[in-house]
């Protein structure tokens, strides 16, 4: 019996290990904690396997356990990013800043996005408060729907949308700050009149 259960479990989790680990790493920002978080998640999932209804969305089910485990056991231990300001979070934030940047006019704004390093994008995302980072990861990286995310984080749909939209705007502001700091943009930020 136990062997069958183990085999079934092993087959169920196998396709999700790398996305669980990536999400854990972005949330804990630390390889050791990420490994432990995945391990704890799998252990809890195994114990709760009887509650999983066969042929329903296993991926969402196990992500829900990951998020719960992160919030109850890891969140407090993880250093939160510096306090972020929610001012000036306008729509199209990054596009508008690039549009005001004289040196970027000649090249395409989309080329600018391509030129960013993977690590800059990772750091920018990791700088977001965890509630926002989580929802952006689940939607933009893992491709979950709004409804799936509402179920995973156990929050109403409206909360999912407002965190996602706000999270993306915060991320755009973070990317803009990186662009200036890293010298992708090197003019004096003279806004077009």
């Amino acid at each position: 019996m136990a062997e069958n259960k183990q085999r079934e479990f092993s087959e169920l989790i196998e396709p999700h290990i790398s996305s669980l680990y990536s999400t854990a790493l972005r949330m804990t920002r630390n390889q050791n904690d990420a490994e432990d978080l995945v391990q704890d998640t799998l252990y809890k999932a195994y114990k709760a396997l009887a509650q999983y209804q066969r042929n329903t969305n296993f991926r969402a089910w196990i992500f829900r356990i990951l998020v719960n485990t992160f919030i109850t056991a890891y969140r407090k231990a993880v250093k939160q990013p510096q306090k972020v300001s929610y001012d000036d979070l306008e729509e199209f934030f990054l596009y508008k800043r690039l549009d005001e940047t004289v040196s970027i006019q000649e090249t395409s704004k989309e080329e600018f996005l391509e030129s960013m390093f993977d690590d800059d994008v990772k750091e920018a995302l990791e700088a977001l408060p965890y509630q926002f980072r989580l929802v952006v990861l689940l939607c933009d990286v893992e491709g979950f729907s709004y409804n799936e995310i509402a179920n995973i984080i156990d929050a109403p749909l409206g909360t999912v949308m407002s965190r996602l939209y706000r999270g993306r705007k915060l991320l755009q502001r973070q990317l803009w700050d990186y662009a200036k700091k890293r010298g992708y943009i090197n003019d004096d930020f003279k806004a077009k009149v």
């Binding site: 259960k5 990536s22 391990q39 199209f92 996005l113 391509e114 939607c139």
Partner: protein
């Protein structure tokens, strides 16, 4: 223009209000049609919306899955062996 006709077109403010839902394919067919009709004749909105779509895909691409370290694979095999 009657109220009904007026409401059948989106303006730039509607695009700004709905862009995030649009990039997540969250608009219903009617909203999507009105949204895209606006983009057809409004170049500034069209450019902004393509930028948002591009940014979303770049984030997904640049944050692509990390390969789990050997250490984790060992931990998992170990865990699986000891589960009851």
């Amino acid at each position: 223009m009657t109220l009904k006709q007026k409401s059948e077109k989106y303006d730039c403010a509607d695009i700004e209000r709905l862009v995030q839902k649009y990039i997540d394919s969250g608009l219903n067919d009617h909203e999507k049609q009105l949204f895209e009709e606006h983009l057809e004749y409004c170049l500034p909105c069209d450019k902004k919306v393509s930028f948002e779509l591009k940014l979303k895909s770049i984030i997904r691409h640049k944050m692509s899955h990390e390969v789990p370290p050997e250490n984790l694979k060992n931990k998992i095999s170990n865990l699986l062996e000891h589960l009851e």
